[in-house]
């Protein structure tokens, strides 16, 4: 440290004008950063605020011109209405079931594949990884039409099984990529080597040692898989769009499409709030894993 101090001493002999100009640029930079951040925060938060605010207003209040920025009273009547006007509880349970089953199935299948891809060298391992990565990258719209007919041929159109089957297939590439980088970075191979010496076979070591040790990571990636299925609209709108069985996204979008937002915008906003809450709770639970997990998965592939 003392060497640094002596090296930087010439700085203190700078003329006053230079320090003054430096201070001005500093203040301008800070002001710009603050201004831009405020702008970005308004951009990010205004829609969320507007949703929550509208959900507490009466239909008369939300149509006021100029718009009212605050609800006159906090009443949960719109939320009660949301459960009757839109069968939101039923839709949420549908989504919960489909996304939950998908998450469990996809994470199990993916963990197996990800483990061997991360740990062993075997013929075609790299090719398999490339196939998976390619599938993950290419947008879903490029395979919507054949899969629609495929599910139809299987007689699974408008069934939970059909949608879960499709979702499991789509979630796997993502989960495999994330999990294999997780196994590489945060699951030491020494553990299972010790297990194998103690007489576990390959599968025994995976099931009894690797899986329990990696549970936090697997749970986190399972949650992301869940959210992927929970948020999806494209597939659900095609494969499961019959009455009561609709998932949340399809139910909400159909309510919007049928003009429900014209007469019942406040009820719709309340439904949106309700539909967002589960994801936000999971998000808060996941936040710790996010920075490391996402970037590792996305960058290393």
């Amino acid at each position: 440290m003392s060497r640094v101090a002596t090296m930087s001493r010439p700085d203190s002999r700078l003329t006053d004008t230079v320090t003054f100009r430096k201070r001005i640029t500093r203040i301008v930079t800070i002001a710009m950063v603050v201004l831009l951040s405020v702008f970005v925060m308004i951009y990010v938060l205004l829609p969320i605020y507007w949703m929550v605010k509208s959900s507490f207003q009466t239909n008369f209040e939300i149509r006021a011109s100029p718009p009212l920025w605050f609800p006159s009273s906090i009443s949960f009547q719109t939320y009660a209405d949301a459960t009757t006007v839109i069968p939101i509880v039923r839709y949420m349970l549908n989504s919960l079931f489909v996304a939950g089953t998908t998450a469990i199935l996809a994470t199990m299948i993916s963990a197996m594949a990800a483990y061997v891809l991360a740990r062993f060298r075997f013929p075609f391992a790299r090719l398999i990884l490339v196939i998976i990565l390619f599938t993950q990258l290419i947008p879903h719209i490029t395979r919507v039409f054949p899969i629609y007919f495929f599910i139809q041929d299987l007689g699974l159109l408008n069934t939970y099984v059909g949608l879960i089957f499709a979702y499991t297939g789509f979630s796997i590439p993502y989960a495999v990529l994330m999990l294999q980088s997780y196994f590489r970075s945060s699951c030491p191979p020494e553990l299972e080597e010790a297990g194998m010496i103690d007489g576990c076979g390959y599968f025994g070591a995976f099931r009894r040692i690797v899986l329990p040790v990696s549970m936090p990571g697997i749970a986190a990636i399972g949650t992301f898989t869940f959210l992927g299925a929970w948020n999806d609209f494209l597939w659900a709108s095609l494969l499961l769009n019959r009455g009561e069985m609709k998932t949340l996204q399809v139910g909400l979008r159909d309510f919007m499409g049928e003009g429900g937002t014209i007469a019942n915008a406040n009820v719709f906003m309340a439904a949106c709030v309700l539909a967002t809450i589960p994801a936000v709770i999971l998000f808060i639970f996941l936040q710790r894993h996010m920075v490391s997990g996402i970037s590792a998965g996305a960058i290393k592939g």
Partner: protein, 299 residues
């Protein structure tokens, strides 16, 4: 002996995942390409079947002015979204990476849009931008910037194919995608060793110089990855455009994904839909090829 037992174990473990990926990933993509070369009209399917028609479907697409418009707008959409997301993401990450009171709170709220499903995001924004009830219009006219309301999603004046609704829809997609990018940039920032900034301090670098000469070049790999991933997903994007505007007004927010979907499920022309999605497949595969090659080199 031991080697082959290990290989068998590996294949057994990979098999379920690989089979599903091929069945629901690779094969449908190939089938989509194949469907683009036959006539596949749901209304005449019974009587005519699916005869091979060569490049007719692509010829139809490229003679359809709406398709050309859609293609141009898709590229516009991708460029706007990637541009905004990177500029705002780097800016936000710079701020969120600093130490200040309430940082955790700010980070959490900032990341919220990530977990708002695209359909709901589109629904909220549609409500927020409702021409007559928008608080944005009311604020702008209160401070005297505008006379009469802006039709954020209905204004059809356009410069070339660029229009206000397109900008608005891109901004909504940006809103939904911004947290992911910010998190990636934050991770990138945290991997930069802090001693190089200390060295720059000793050399008397200003914060702007540190940003442009150190931070940006060091973030470049992360930013390239973000831009690539978002370009690929942007070319096939669907949700926000479909839910907010359905591609309108006058197809000004139409993009390839919405066009393909409409061809199939509104007009029952699965052949045109397959041809349009093949265009998406070709464009995205091209980018994906370079991306995968880059990743393999890194390894």
């Amino acid at each position: 002996m031991l080697e082959s037992r290990k290989n068998i174990f590996c294949y057994l473990m990979v098999a379920p995942a690989l089979i599903l990926v091929i069945l629901l990933g690779i094969l449908p993509m190939i089938q989509s390409l194949r469907m683009a070369f036959v006539e596949y009209n749901l209304l005449t399917l019974r009587t005519k079947g699916t005869p091979f028609v060569g490049l007719d479907n692509f010829e139809y697409l490229f003679s359809d002015s709406v398709f050309i418009q859609t293609l141009v707008q898709t590229i516009m959409f991708v460029v706007i979204v990637v541009g905004f997301v990177i500029v705002l993401g780097v800016l936000a990450a710079q701020v969120l990476n600093r130490q200040f009171v309430g940082r955790t709170f700010l980070r959490t709220t900032f990341l919220l849009p990530w977990f708002i499903p695209p359909v709901i995001a589109a629904g909220i924004w549609r409500w927020l931008l409702n021409t007559n009830l928008s608080p944005i219009n009311s604020v702008l006219s209160d401070i005297g910037l505008i006379n009469g309301n802006i039709g954020f999603l209905t204004d059809t004046t356009s410069i070339g194919y660029f229009s206000l609704p397109m900008l608005v829809v891109s901004l909504v997609r940006t809103w939904n995608g911004l947290p992911f990018v910010t998190v990636m940039v934050l991770a990138g920032l945290q991997s930069i060793p802090s001693d190089i900034y200390e060295a720059a301090d000793i050399d008397g670098a200003s914060s702007w110089q540190k940003f442009t000469r150190l931070t940006l070049p060091l973030l470049r790999p992360v930013l390239v990855v973000i831009a690539t991933l978002l370009s690929i997903s942007g070319i096939g994007y669907f949700e926000v455009n479909y839910v907010m505007t359905g591609g309108g007004p006058r197809d000004l927010t139409n993009i390839l994904g919405v066009y393909a979907y409409d061809q199939a499920f509104s007009f029952y022309r699965f052949d045109y839909a397959a041809a349009a999605s093949s265009v998406i497949l070709i464009l995205t595969s091209f980018i994906a090829f370079f991306y995968i090659r880059y990743l393999l080199k890194e390894d």
